[in-house]
Symmetry: C2
Subunit: 87 residues, 2 copies
């Protein structure tokens, strides 16, 4: 499945979240990662979030499309990090 | 079509972008808007971005799914602004 993760977490946790997500997904913009994941990988990410974030103030949105073909992407302005697999 | 807009723009333009996008979409997290749009509305938004952003340094990602049913959403931690139509 194709996954898009957008997060809004306290400053002191941003580096840790970035470092972790980079092992699974492509960084495409500040606080935005995307890429192909298996169900198991996504569950691992969700578990990690629950164990490392302050769920009272941090916020993570996870959008999933069963396949990349259901999600098109347009970039306006600077392309911070290209992911050829979706364009 | 269901649209998700994520932006990373210079601080001095954030308020203006927020104010504009709120007329079309739901604010769901810092720099993240989502909602149902027509093709014409999306085109108007794209034109507005091209006329109001500095395309050399600002970045906007627009994800579209032909229908909401192709995009599921999971929230971890704080739900900054709920959009019942997708959950």
């Amino acid at each position: 499945m194709y996954v898009l993760i957008v997060y809004d977490v306290e400053e002191k946790r941003v580096a840790k979240v970035n470092k972790f997500l980079k092992t699974y997904l492509n960084w495409v913009q500040n606080s935005v990662f995307e890429g192909e994941l298996t169900e198991a990988q996504l569950n691992r990410i969700i578990l990690w979030f629950k164990g490392h974030l302050d769920l009272r103030c941090d916020s993570v949105l996870i959008y999933t499309a069963s396949s990349e073909k259901w999600l098109s992407k347009k970039i306006i302005g600077v392309e911070k990090n290209s992911t050829d697999n979706i364009l």
